[in-house]
């Protein structure tokens, strides 16, 4: 059975720049001297540290536990001594610092005892989820959504199709391509496991048309018994976006503001599938990943990097010489972020490091409403209108124009003849709206406090008035009220005493 493919609207044919790095075998990065592990390398709540500075940890040991349901643990990626737990620079568009655990590697790379599962099919889906969560697996495609949450959604809802996403649509990035070519068995086996866990009716592994070697490698591991479809989708950016890939493969649309599970579909990245395989059959936690290092370096290639390794180590290994006329981008050229500091660590979501020549800043010109952005938008937004409203701080209108359906793919900025960095305006608007929401919640709380206080004051006033009225009209009963007062004081003293005793018991 061949699947009829559909088209998503908009999109761009970009210069892929994949040949620089795609045909060179990947290389293991030597153990760095120091490892920096952010507590939040996924979407959701940051993990809570379990170790203290000075403590010795082993490779694969859990050093921070998940906080809440949408969270995953962090594992030490080599053996060594915890030097510090504090705020360090992470790959982030605003160059912010976030809590990290820093480990001085001792070079022994001593393993924490791990436990493997021989027959995953005998496990219940819940047990499989537990394993996947314990091994710290977050989506390796870029967003870093905890994998077990998607699995749980799959268990709770009927899953029609499981899609394993190998469509690496952003230019320059070849880490998934390389991973598939070198570890196709992991990907296929991981796909089987996830499928078992969510009980999906169909399973599709999708790669791009310009990844023939990866396609063949996967085909070599899929057996007739598997009933896994291997699909090649046309090369067009952003075909690898979750919503776009679902549209291409099934013709269905993820509801605006909803999730793919709402239409019975779950999407996992190929690298996530490979990590699931390793986690289940070998018990290995997620401690390394493939990273493409490309652009203005001597030997562009893919690296297998221990999480927490500084970006600068990866660059040095590929022959990068620090210079003033280059800039470094973590992530792809369309959606990645330029970083100022090379000492930031590689995290679970770091798929690519690009070195590019600095270009003189281009003057941003007025929007002439030409509508090219709308032609290329894969979500059918009107970027020109969104821009207008975002720039004028008219956030209600940006919401009406579906700001939150924007996937920030950057197609609009790419084609804008006036060189307007449109996506930045949308990020700004999203940020401001979130802030406004917080402020509003704060204001509601303040209002509630004010009202409560007003009510208290009123009550007090009423009680006073009553008492006044009582004391003037019932002066003869003053003896009784005096006795009442004494009783009240006695009771209060007794209460305080009992409270104190309970306190000392603790």
């Amino acid at each position: 059975m061949t699947r009829t493919l559909h088209r998503f609207s908009g999109g761009l044919h970009l210069d892929t720049h994949k040949h620089e790095s795609r045909d060179v075998p990947s290389m293991l990065v030597p153990l760095p001297g120091q490892i920096i592990l952010p507590l939040k390398q996924h979407i959701g709540l940051a993990a809570r540290p379990l170790v203290n500075p000075g403590e010795r940890v082993l490779k694969g040991q859990i050093i921070a536990e998940p906080e809440g349901y949408v969270s995953v643990p962090v594992h030490a990626t080599t053996s060594g001594v915890v030097r510090d737990i504090g705020d360090y620079h992470i790959p982030h568009p605003f160059g912010i610092r976030e809590p990290c655990i820093v480990i001085d590697a001792d070079g022994l790379d001593e393993l924490f005892p791990i436990e493997a599962v021989t027959d995953y099919a005998a496990l219940t889906p819940q047990a499989l989820q537990e394993i996947i969560r314990d091994r710290g697996i977050a989506g390796l495609g870029g967003a870093g959504f905890p994998a077990h949450v998607k699995l749980k959604e799959g268990v709770d809802n009927a899953v029609d199709t499981l899609i394993i996403n190998g469509v690496e649509c952003e230019p320059y990035i070849t880490c998934d391509d390389r991973l598939i070519r070198e570890k196709a068995m992991y990907v296929v086996s991981g796909a089987r496991m996830i499928r078992h866990a969510v009980n999906a009716k169909h399973c599709v592994i999708a790669v791009e048309e310009d990844m023939p070697e990866a396609h063949d490698a996967l085909a070599g591991h899929i057996t007739a018994h598997d009933d896994i479809e291997l699909v090649r989708v046309p090369t067009r950016y952003p075909a690898g976006g979750e919503k776009q890939l679902i549209q291409v493969l099934t013709g269905k649309e993820v509801p605006s503001g909803g999730f793919s599970i709402n239409i019975g579909i779950i999407v996992h990245n190929v690298a996530t599938a490979a990590a699931v395989y390793r986690a289940v059959t070998r018990g290995e936690p997620l401690i390394s990943r493939y990273v493409t290092v490309t652009g203005e370096v001597k030997t562009p290639r893919n690296l297998q990097v221990l999480l927490g390794t500084p970006v600068s180590d990866c660059l040095k290994l590929c022959g990068y010489e620090d210079s003033n006329d280059t800039r470094i981008i973590v992530g792809g050229p369309m959606m990645g972020t330029q970083v100022r500091d090379c000492n930031i660590p590689v995290t679970k979501t770091t798929n690519c490091i690009i070195v590019r020549r600095k270009i003189p800043p281009i003057q941003e010109l007025p929007c002439i409403r030409c509508g090219r952005c709308a032609d290329v938008c894969p979500v059918n937004l009107l970027p020109q209108q969104l821009y207008l409203y975002a720039k004028a701080d008219r956030f209600d209108e940006t919401r009406q124009h579906h700001l939150f359906d924007c996937i920030e793919c950057g197609c609009c900025s790419c084609v804008c003849p006036s060189h307007i960095p449109l996506v930045q305006y949308y990020r700004y608007a999203k940020f401001e709206i979130a802030l406004e929401e917080q402020r509003r919640q704060g204001a509601t709380r303040a209002e509630q406090r004010f009202l409560n206080r007003k009510r208290r004051l009123q009550q007090r006033q009423e009680v006073k008035q009553k008492q006044k009225a009582g004391s003037t009209t019932t002066a003869t009963e003053s003896g009784d009220t005096d006795a009442d007062r004494k009783a009240f004081v006695r009771a209060a003293v007794a209460r305080t005493r009992s409270r104190k005793e309970r306190g000392t018991d603790r």
Partner: protein
């Protein structure tokens, strides 16, 4: 935008050759006035003058405006229209990208309504040998005005559209007009060649992907179909579709004016409605209105509808209101 200016040049030259060379003077004056007005407004608004002055947007406005007015228009009228277009219609609404109305059309309509007598002095086409104004007369008209000419009627003539309207107003039939020497092949002697040059230049812009074909095609198709229906209904009082389509204003407008992205709708559907509206309103005003040509009015009318069009033609966002 530079290509758009280049594409206008052949049409202007053909215009100068077959109709009257005064158009070159009008173009030159309009461009100079427009650049000066633009520079002043940029300075007043505190914007970088160097960056915006030569972005060709104001030059296109000036050229389109100069092509609308008569080659014999006095210079101060030319200036009035340009000042209105650049200072009020363009910059008062936020400058490039912010203007609701097409500046060239608004400037033209402003002077058309303000100076009706002067705006109606059109030269006779050279090839008709009916006393086209010579060098001295032309310069006198442009630089000192109508009063400096003893017998204005001896050197001016009605445009085909004006002529047709006055003929019909005089209870004559179209048939009598089509036999007139100034009718030419389909849409006016000489002028139809200007129109065809603009058509060719417009197609070149489409080919170069500088403008999209949908809007010009919709304008022309709408105008053609509406006029065809009424022509078929009564060919005695309604002009032929070819006459409507091959008028200079139709082809210049369809390829160079309607395609102005700033003042037209911004959604794909909105643009088609905008273009169809321009085609329809042009025909309505030409056939039933008080003015011989309705293109500029049609454009302004549709400009005013743009916010509404954009509001009601927002495309369905991916995943919006789907029933799965």
């Amino acid at each position: 935008m530079r290509e758009v200016v280049i594409a206008l040049v052949p049409g202007i030259l053909v215009y100068a050759l077959v109709v009257h060379w005064g158009v070159l003077v009008q173009c030159l004056l309009a461009v100079l006035f427009a650049l000066a007005a633009e520079a002043v407004m940029l300075r007043v608004r505190g914007l970088p003058v160097k960056l915006f002055l030569f972005d060709y947007s104001v030059i296109i406005t000036a050229l389109l405006y100069a092509l609308c007015i008569s080659p014999l228009t006095p210079w101060w009228i030319n200036l009035c229209g340009i000042l209105f277009a650049v200072m009020l219609v363009k910059h008062a609404y936020g400058g490039l990208g912010g203007n609701l109305f097409n500046p060239a059309m608004a400037g033209f309509v402003f002077v058309l309504l303000s100076f009706p007598a002067d705006m109606n002095v059109w030269p006779a086409v050279y090839s008709l040998h009916s006393g086209s104004p010579g060098l001295l007369d032309t310069l006198a008209l442009i630089f000192s005005g109508r009063d400096s000419i003893a017998d204005i009627d001896a050197i001016s003539a009605a445009t085909p559209l004006t002529h047709m309207q006055s003929q019909l107003g005089g209870m004559n039939m179209i048939g009598e007009f089509t036999t007139d020497p100034r009718y030419g092949l389909v849409a006016g002697t000489g002028l139809e060649w200007v129109a065809i040059t603009f058509l060719a230049a417009g197609l070149w812009l489409v080919f170069r992907k500088i403008i999209a074909w949908q809007m010009p095609a919709t304008v022309i198709a709408t105008l053609f179909l509406v006029s065809l229906v009424f022509y078929g209904f009564d060919a005695g009082v309604y002009a032929s579709p070819l006459f409507h389509v091959f008028t200079v204003s139709t082809l210049l407008g369809a390829f160079f004016i309607v395609t102005d992205p700033v003042s037209s709708a911004t959604t794909a559907t909105g643009r088609l409605i905008f273009a169809a509206g321009v085609g329809l309103m042009t025909w309505v005003i030409r056939s039933w209105g008080a003015y011989p040509d309705g293109f500029a009015f049609a454009v302004l009318f549709m400009n005013a509808l743009v916010p509404l069009l954009d509001h009601f033609t927002r495309p369905r966002v991916l995943g919006e209101a789907v029933d799965n």
